[in-house]
Every structure is written in C-alpha cells, then in structure tokens.
Subunit: 412 residues, 2 copies
C-alpha cells in the first residue's frame, strides 16, 4: 500500500469536533487505498499552558524535565485521534515517540531526529491497521529520556516520517489554506501561492512566517518529500493548498516571492566591548553553549579600542543570553560596560529565489522603508533574502509598503 | 540511605504553589537523610478532563488508547515537581512509568503492577540524586503500551514502590488529615483515628471512603508497608495523620471503626429471569468478561420458574452492563423480560474488626435505619462489615444516625 503522511496542527485538533473533522479527512485518504500516518500536535493552547508552568516553576529550567512536561499534550491528541478513527470503524492506534521509537539526539528541547525504525508500524500495517497516529514534536534520547524537537516540531516529525516510510506525499493541515506572499492578517492584498520553492519556504519559515517549521522544510528538501500545506477547515480538492517543491518544478516566479516578519526577535547590545582579535568568538561561543540562537550580528566601528556589539536572538532567550554574558565577564573572558536588551523590535524580510539573478532588490527595499520614515537598526542578507530589524511599531506598515512596492498581489 | 516514599494526591499538587509546598515537605525528609521517592498524581481536575474527552469521543473506548490519554496528567506533575525540587537545590529527576519501568499486566485501565526493577533509580541515588519523582497511576504492559491502574492508582504505585525499595514508610499526603470514623463533610461528629487496621481500611476504601485506594491497602498489608495518611495542608509532626497498620499494633478499638458510604453505586435488576441451575453463572460471567465490577447480588424467591435478579455495580459501568446483558439475551444464553437500572441509590456500611467477636451489630444497624424510616434495598455482609443499599436521598441521614448509634465520636 502507498503511504501518506498527514499532519494536523494545534488549531486543527483544538476541540473534539475538530479532531472528528480531521479524522474524516483521514478517512477520505484511507478510502483511496492509502496506509496513513497521522502526526498530531497538542490541542491548541495546551503546549503554551505547559510551557507557562515550566517557566513559572523554574526560569532556567532543566531541559530534560521541560521535555517530559511539554510533550504530554501531543500524547493526549494522539490517543483521542486513534479513538475517533476507531469510532469510524477505521483500524487505528496511537504511538508516542518512545514507542515507535523516534530516536533523537540528547539536545533536549531542540533535539534532532536521528532515526525512525519503520518495522513496528509497518508490521501493524501488515496486520490490517490502516492509520498509525503518532504524537508529533517528541522523541526519545539514547539515554531513554523524552526529548522534544522545539516549537513547531510536529512538522519536522511529519516530514521525517514521510522520508522514513517513503510516503507519496506529506500533507500539512493547518489553519491557513496555503502559503501567502505575506501574512493576510496584516496585509489584505496578500495572495496565496500555488507553489513555492523549498529554498524560499526555508527563508520564510526561518523568518517567522509560521506556516512550516524551518527544519521540516530542510528535511523535505534533503529527502525530496513532496510537501503540501493546506487548510483543515475547508473541503479539499487534490490540488488545494500550496505545494512546496524543488525550484525546477516552478515555471515562472516573481523576483520576490514574499514578505516575512517576526515579532519574537530581540536586539541585544554589549556596550563598549574591548575590541581585540577573537572577541567575537569570546562572545558568541558562550551564547551557543547555552543554546541561544543568535541571528543577526553587527559590530560597530571601533573607537579607541572599544566597540559596541549588537546581535539579535529570540525574545525568550534574552535572560539566558544576559546570564551567559555576565558569566563570561565574571570569568574575565570578555569585558563590556553594559548589556542592553531591546525587545521592542521586529524583523521584516523580503525573500525570493529570483534575487539570485536580479539586482537592486536591496536598494529598492531600503528606498521603500526610507520613504515611510522607518529607521533600519540592523541589516542582514543572504543569496535569496534581505532582512532588517526595525522598531516594532512600524512592522505592519513596512510589510504593507514592501508588498505594494514589489507588486506581490499579482501572480507572475 | 533509608528510603522514604511520599505520595501527593491531585489536590496536593493542584497548583504550582501547592507543588512548591509539597516540595518543601520533601525537602524536610531529605534533610533528615532519606533518599525519597515521590509519587505524584495529576493536578486535580486534569484526569477528569481527560476522561471526559475519551468518553465523549468514544463511549465504548479502546482501553489502550484511554490509558495513553489519561496517563498524561501525571507526567506533567512529575516533571514540574522535579523542576521545583531542583530550584530548591535538591538533586531530583522525573520518571514516567515506562522509564522505571513499572511493569504491569495488560489489563488496560485496571492493570496490576507485576514488577518494579529498582536498579535504574538506585543507580541514580548512588550518583547523588536525592529524590526520584515518579508519575503515579501508570505503567507499561509486556507489549510496550502504556497502562493505568484505575482511579486512585497512584496510592497503589506508592505502596508498590515502598515494597520494592523496602522503604521505611509510605506517607500518603492528601487533602484530609487522616482517616475519620466517617466523612466529616456529612457528619460533623466524625473523629480522626490515630490508627486503623489494614482490614478495616480495606473495607472503608472499597466502600467509597476515598482516602486510600483499595489495592494500595491490600498491597501494604501483604508487604507489611507502614502506611501513613496525612494532610499536605498542615504543618506535620512525626506522628501526624493516621497510621494504617496491622491489627496487633492497635491496643483497643471500638466494635465499629467507621461508617462508609458510596454514591457511585447503581442498582440493576433483570426482571423475570428464567430460574434454572447455572443462571447466576450465565448472568455474571459475561458481566465479568466486559469488566463490570459487580458488588452486591440479590436473587428474589422464585415464582413459577421465574425470578428477579438484582445486583449493584459502579454507575459508570451501567451502559457496559446493559450491553453485556442484551448481548447475552441475543445469544440465547439468558432470558429476561426487562432490565432496569436505578442510579438513584447509595451504599452505606459499618465496618470494624471488633464485629468478629461482637454479635448484634447488624441487628442494631437495621433498627437504627428502620427508626429513621429508611427502606433497605439490598444487604450484603462480610466478617467485618455490613452494607446496605438505600435510596440516595437518605444517605446522609443514615450515616449520621449510624455514627450516633455506635458512638463513634468517642475514642475507645
């Protein structure tokens, strides 16, 4: 039997009614003759509640205990989905990460999947089971402890299962009906894309367009998994949603595919750092050791042997970053006068594989922002994207102005 | 190091503040030099919420999926308790049932513990860990699926760990400060007992005095585990609460130790059953096969070859019992005119090991109820208890009248 992977996010399983609705979609695919692997998230709100408990209990928590706590929401949904399918007379059972087992690294709360043995689930398919419901987001470490893959990790679980089982396709059911040129909630001209290249999706995902988790797109690209994003709230045809695929499968595309933003970025500045060879390493090594994901970095021009070093990181890692810097200073590894965190910023980016062959995109972006009176704090670029950090109050304005300027409301 | 088992029920870990309070109690015992095994329930309300989800999804649920869902609440508390202890600089980690592993039978939703290997946890104690926090109520079947031990199963988990680790004592922290002669909420003369015999506690537990789960008392009796029930909401001395112990450890006791009641009992009557040899077996075998816990049984005097058969079972098993009876009738195994379920009843019992050597307790009980005008529907007796099924509306009156008549407010 061909295998299909279907992943349902938190809003798609937020209530028992929605779980039933999702189960019906699964039933449609089973009726077509697929063996289906369903990956479920926690009911929406659950994971946030659990994360809240952990943070309140222990701000600098033991990530092993964090994982044991926050992974429980997916277990609930997996069992309920299996029961719902059974009620529809579809043979189904649930699997928690350790039961498959989804083998991961020991990097708790941001573990990577290393192996998914297929024999347990395939044996059950052989015995007549039609649907394996797997709790997303979680796995088990070599030490036998529960791990989680980081926020949005259920997408990664889904793609990893699609790769392991050589699935025909991996359908990601979510609360939006596809990938848009930008967030329709803040720009009403946003347009749904029929197809988008892996590379573009990767940038959009990493830049905060929360449709798919970055690593899931990386994995899909590496293992050539056909990935489809579609809505669990609409009746679906076979070509609904947005297909995330290889660049060569897209005939024509705009220079800029989309505009992304992120509110979850904080700007941190080390004021008056002694500027000497190796100072960057002395700053960023301890940050990486405590798991701070540094994104943008800017070093000011040195003045009398001292400089300001600015970087951005997720807002929920600010405390951790501050502690790492203060500790490094106490050890004498670095020297600075002050550390300033600014969480009142946002990152806005334009993304498109067409930028590889078209020049002038950056210049146009800066002109558009300047015309709106928006000051750029930090800039960073890649082959196919340009990102700027700006004051958060200008974020929506910036997205709308850029969407207009690059005419994203028009299909190519 | 001597080992102490401390179990905290749902109300004792209902909020993060209460978890902190419980953790402080654990810290007191750690300071005395104990290696502590903490068994936790789900935060109160959580398990009921999950059971509600399952029942709504699938009234005749697959118990394997039920277990996968409802066991998740304990995992959350275990992680949070470990984090709280770590914040107090007490080395601690959490263990889910499958991680220990708590090996159980495959009887899902009412599994029995078969073995608790001690090597994993003892190795950690050897490495300096002071507290092992274990998720109560759950285990793992020989097939590697999650099992649960039935409601209140965390008590059983606690006693089983106390037996396996040869613990000095098993302290059950709950929302009451000990075992009472009856429920103080419905009888203000209820008196706390300093000690109670295992056998009495066993009857009280099985009769609905929800302080301890029946099987936990059975286990404690078999393995001679010193079991103490005490409040997590009061400052505790070393002799607080009620000690559940062997009969010979109690110097003097009243003939009747306590009055118990249960609202969760339903009366079912099979009307006009063909009365023939083997009819009882034909009725109660299918009930036991679907897991209905029949408690009291009364067979009316036969009239023209037909009789009424009345039995009681937990109210939440009524649907299951009805289906089993209708199926047995359809198979031609039994024959009856009608099946009537009455959930508007309650069971009231008097319990005491002194009844073994004193006569007249039953007669006195019936006189007291008659004087209050309370009709007795069904009677059942054992060596140390007498139970009656009465209309639920008379339950509180019956308990108060019996408490008075047997002078339970006075210590022996």
């Amino acid at each position: 039997m061909p295998v299909l992977v279907m992943k349902f996010g938190g809003t798609s399983v937020a209530t028992l009614d929605r779980i039933r609705r999702a189960a019906k979609r699964v039933g449609v695919e089973v009726a077509k003759g697929y063996d289906v692997i369903v990956i479920v998230s926690a009911m929406s709100g659950e994971t946030n509640k659990l994360v809240g408990y952990v943070n309140e209990t222990s701000p600098l928590f033991d990530a092993r205990e964090y994982d044991a706590v926050v992974s429980s929401g997916e277990n609930v949904t997996a069992g309920l989905m299996a029961l719902t399918l059974q009620e529809m007379d579809i043979p189904a059972r649930s699997w928690q990460g350790w039961q498959v087992p989804v083998k991961t690294t020991s990097a708790h709360s941001s573990a990577r999947i290393e192996d998914i043995p297929t024999d347990n689930i395939n044996r059950k398919f052989g015995e007549g089971m039609k649907v394996a419901v797997v709790a997303g987001f979680q796995g088990v470490s070599p030490e036998g402890r529960i791990t989680t893959l980081g926020r949005g990790g259920s997408d990664t679980t889904a793609v990893a299962f699609a790769a392991a089982f050589a699935a025909e396709r991996c359908d990601i059911y979510t609360d939006v009906d596809g990938v848009y040129t930008t967030d329709p909630r803040i720009c009403d001209k946003a347009r749904k894309l029929d197809r988008i290249a892996f590379e573009e999706m990767l940038e959009l995902a990493s830049l905060g367009a929360k449709v798919l988790q970055t690593r899931s797109v990386e994995l899909a690209m590496r293992y050539k998994v056909k990935l489809r994003v579609l809505s669990s709230f609409e009746e679906q045809s076979d070509d609904a949603g947005t297909l995330v695929c290889a660049e060569e499968d897209i005939m024509e595309s705009n220079v800029v595919a989309g505009v992304a933003y992120s509110r979850d970025e904080a700007k941190m500045t080390l004021v008056s750092v002694a500027d000497r060879p190796g100072i960057a390493a002395a700053i960023f090594t301890p940050l990486s050791e405590v798991g701070v994901n540094v994104d943008m970095i800017v070093q000011n021009i040195s003045d009398e042997g001292r400089t300001d070093m600015t970087f951005s990181c997720p807002t929920d890692q600010v405390r951790r970053a501050e502690k790492a810097m203060v500790d490094a200073k106490a050890r004498g590894d670095i020297n600075f006068h002050d550390i300033v965190a600014d969480t009142d910023v946002a990152k806005v980016s334009v993304v498109g594989i067409g930028m590889r062959s078209h020049t002038g995109v950056a210049a146009k972006m800066f002109r558009v922002l300047a015309k709106e009176g928006i000051n750029i704090r930090v800039i960073t670029t890649s082959e196919i994207k340009i990102s700027v950090l700006i004051d958060r109050k200008y974020m929506e304005l910036a997205v709308q102005a850029l969407h207009d300027a690059f005419e994203l409301e028009k299909a190519s």
